[in-house]
Amino acid sequence: MDIKTLIDTLHSLERKVLPVLSTSRTLPEIVGATGLKDIEVMRALQWLENKKIVKISTELKEVVSLDKNGVKYVKNGLPERVFITVLKDRELSISRLEKLTGLSKDELNVCLGVLRKKAMALIIQNKELRVKLTAEGLKWLDKEFLEETFLKKVFPLDIKSLSSEDQFALQNLKKRREIVKTEMQKLKHVELLDLGREIISKGIGDDKVVDVLKPELLRSGDWRNKTFRRYDVKINVPKVFGGKPQAYRIFLDGVRKKFMSLGFTEMRGPLVESEFWNMDALFMPQFHSARDIHDVLYVKEPKRAKLDESLVKRVKSAHENGFGTGSTGWGYEFDISRTHRLLLRSQGTACSSRMLASPELKIPGKYFGMARCFRKDVVDATHNADFYQTEGIVVEEGLTLRHLFGLLKMFAKEFAGADEIKIVPGYFPFTEPSAELFAKHPVLGWVELGGAGIFRPELVKPLVGREVSVIAWGIGIDRIAMFKLGINDIRQLFSHDLAFLRNQKVVECPQ
């Protein structure tokens, strides 16, 4: 930056401080010379130093200043002064002195100590303790103690600069309670550098420079005669944290939009679900191990769901004897009371079973749901108390396993950016055939992306009323979410760390 530009950038505070630096070197001096506040001078000096116009050097000094009692004694006089002034040439008892001087017992004791050490007072042992001044003591009645001289100075004081008498007085006072205190203090010295001297010689006192563009300037047109102070536009500004959406929700919003763009309609369902929709309607036998009390969270009250009992009857028949689908069914006695039991939805497929039985079901139709689900897991880096499952169905006559593969291939491309996929046989209690999808993510490598299958006829017929092919799928997007959000602990998806949330990236810039 050339020197003219540099001068243009000077702030009005800098403009006030810079000229006095030829003669003033310390903060109090500069404050005195400019009439600015301490903080304003410090800010200006800091900016000037950043621009290499001045150099600020700091010196560590031991300084002495007045403590609590010191302040008091400067105002009221040292206790020993009060003591001898009251005593004069008399001989008085301690108790009498206490009354006359108004000093505390402690202070009286200190006085006696100090005065006797200096041979100024005598203690006479009679029936009671009595005190009188010595000849030496009487001399000091109208003479200043060294300590008194010292206390009259302006504090804080640089200890190094003290005379030997002052040093002596200081040592004496330091022994006494809370009169003086010493501490290490930083003293700042400001020195003009060559650049500073050059600027001063060029002159900066230009009243044509404007800091703030005020409305009056605009109205009067005076701005035409002014120049505007240049800013240091590279300087860091304080951070502000305005409103911002949460990153994981933004990610989920993106997934939702993606499904809609692929022609899927959103399904929703309740968090508190019945065993019926969550499991029985999905043809999961009531003895299935995933239905164990150790895996599923049950609701205390209310306990029973209201259900369409004719639908329950059809599902019961599917479990027991296949409901006329050509299946044997599971061949056990279906428990009607259990199917009404309320629990926290454990799988997003519960939304699919509701959709299939809904009068709003369209055939052909494509549906997705992003459902909050619950399992009885211990919360750790890979398990949240509740989590999202992204699942859905495609309902259409004549869908085959090959269509299911086509759908999975599309999901791999759309949700993991993967062209390479691997589909292997899988097992889910509600689909046959069943498959698992692995996708080669550009960064993560092979990822298990989801599972899919064709809903069993024993599931479809009771809910839809007839057999129709239904592809059911679920994709695991949490791993991709964690990758995109740059986190490796799943609990951070629901983080309450405000600094983390404020600084988290929410915009996925196309690369």
Partner: protein, 548 residues
């Protein structure tokens, strides 16, 4: 999901082809299984399908893999020689454990590999498929020590004493349930019965206290044994026969000859095991309808034989050890698996459909945008929380409208949130060191009990915290949100224990209360450990919308 460990060398010997871990990894896809762990020759295999227990031993796996690689095809032959062995079933077991299936195997040798597999299969089968021994449990004994016929009866708990496996002193059945480790583990199965099932031979020697523990004298199999007695007991006749079939398969793979046993129930006698296959018809176009492939009959036949079925005239014979076939699709899936999922060409979906979100979702998403515009940082929380956070710290004494979990994994996740504001207080509590002002909001579902139903509501709540926060600031935020929805809110006096009296208002839209706004009570701030004032609001957005 059951996981078994096997030796690659042993598997290769049984299949008749060298199989390394890489080959096995690919082959396991045909068994819906994964290679979990490789430790030299020892590998562990995890099965995703919980309905095919015949695979849970190396012998069963070898049978399937021989089909896959073309070493054998169709249903494997399990030869049964008829014999005079007899098990007599007393009617006393009917109420406890009514069914038994059994066999005798001779002519092979128990070696180290096979003994481990037998024990492993027994464990996995009983735990997973046998529902922790309740539905089915199996036992294997050295046959030469047993005096036939064997008697299966239920006896009073203290009427019989014997030395259980791995013990040196004799105990009554009741004592075993109380003090033997297996007795304690499985006592629950017999909790409701007065008599306990017992297997005892004609010399009055106890074989086993079912389904708890074998006897130490004749209930222990050892390396070198060449004649075995096997039994399966349980509550389901087809499941106990399945157990016999699977063990018969494993034993015959190891070169044993299976000898049948007559089971004499009161009034009838059955031959055990029943290894006959069952038949299932499939439709002519079922394969193309489900898999999407036009295969010739000979191809279908070949693929089914690879999966160890037999096939003739669209009738499939199902081997006795396959219990998972309920419907023709179960067989047709195997056609697809044997064809190779990797060889199936994917097809795009045919029909055009219009996508869309629920109206409610679109609406709350825009309200979220407005909240961000008002200056709130969005947070997103778990919906499970604790009573303490939801009620106690909010100065709410009792709330009947909260949905509680009956069996929570911890008290921190024991209730569904009924409002969002406590979650936002948690944010403040955890961020006391973070720069002020702090303003956060959350939009999401809460669950409220209304009598005997639970209703989910879409809520939004926002809170601000800084030195000069006030009712005004919170009310301005509510005004902004509702103005964006096209509503002018009306405010009225309100009492709410979480807020300072006289500094809380109810929010009304079209004469209906949809939320509240106010300054949080110092009691609440204290409970959350906060020394900075907080003002906030909570609105039930579902109250603004017509029912979906």
């Amino acid at each position: 999901m059951p996981t078994i460990s096997i030796s690659l060398k042993d598997l290769s010997n049984l299949v008749g082809k060298k199989i390394g871990d890489k080959e096995l990894k690919d082959l396991l896809e045909y068994a819906k299984a994964e290679l979990e762990n490789v430790d030299g020759d020892n590998v562990s295999v995890k099965f995703n399908d919980t309905n095919m227990p015949y695979l849970w031993c190396v012998e069963g796996l070898a049978v399937l893999l021989k089909g896959v690689i073309g070493k054998e095809k169709g249903i494997p032959d399990i030869k049964i020689e008829s014999s005079e062995y007899r098990v007599v079933v007393d009617k006393s077991v009917k109420a406890v454990r009514p069914f038994i299936s059994a066999l005798v195997a001779k002519g092979g040798k128990i070696d180290d590999f096979f003994l481990k597999q037998l024990i492993q299969l027994q464990e996995k089968f009983c735990e997973n498929f046998g529902r922790r021994r309740q539905k089915v449990a199996v036992g294997i004994y050295p046959c030469k020590k047993i005096g036939f016929p064997v008697y299966f009866r239920a006896v009073p708990p203290k009427s019989v004493r014997f030395v259980p496996l791995e013990f040196s002193r004799d105990m009554t059945l009741a004592e075993i349930l109380e003090s033997h480790p297996k007795g304690k583990e499985y006592a629950w199965i017999l909790a409701d019965t007065k008599k306990y099932p017992l297997l005892i031979d004609s010399n009055q020697e106890v074989l086993s206290f079912l389904p708890i523990i074998n006897s130490n004298s004749i209930g222990k199999l050892e390396i070198g044994d060449d004649e075995l007695f096997f039994e399966a007991t349980g509550t389901d006749s087809s499941a106990v026969n399945l157990a016999s079939c699977i063990f018969a398969l494993a034993l015959s793979v190891r070169g044993f000859k299976i000898h049948s046993i007559k089971i004499s129930y009161t009034g009838k006698t059955v031959m055990s095991p029943d290894v006959s296959s069952s038949k299932l018809a499939i439709g002519k176009d079922d394969v193309s309808r489900i898999i999407g492939l036009d295969l010739r009959d000979s191809e279908i036949k070949n693929l089914l034989e690879m999966a160890r079925f037999d096939f003739k005239n669209y009738s499939v014979s199902i081997p006795c050890f396959r219990n998972d076939i309920m419907h023709s699709i179960d067989v047709i899936e195997d056609v697809g698996i044997m064809y190779g999922f990797n060889k199936l060409e994917p097809l795009p979906l045919k029909t055009y459909t219009v996508g869309g979100a629920s109206v409610l979702q679109d609406c709350v998403d825009v309200i979220r945008c407005v909240a961000v515009g008002v200056g709130f940082q969005e947070v997103f929380s778990s919906v499970l929380t604790s009573r303490e956070e939801l009620l106690d710290r909010m100065n709410l004494k009792k709330a009947v409208d909260v949905v509680e979990v009956e069996n929570p994994s911890s008290s921190g996740f024991a209730v569904l949130r009924s409002w969002l504001l406590p979650g936002l207080m948690d944010v403040f509590m955890k961020n006391k060191h973070v720069d002020l002002p702090q303003k956060v909001f959350e939009q999401g579902l809460v669950s409220v009990r209304a009598g005997d139903v639970v209703v989910d509501e879409e809520h939004i709540a926002g809170v601000s915290s800084h030195v000069s926060v006030s009712f005004t600031e919170a009310k301005q935020a509510v005004d902004s949100l509702l103005r964006a929805c096209g509503y002018d809110a009306v405010y009225d006096d309100f009492d709410h224990p979480s807020f300072i009296t006289g500094r809380v208002a109810k929010v009304l839209v079209k004469d209906k209360m949809i939320g509240f706004v106010g300054e949080l009570h110092p009691f609440v701030l204290n409970a959350w450990g906060l020394d900075m004032p907080v003002a906030g609001f909570e609105l039930n957005l579902s109250g603004l919308f017509k029912k979906e």
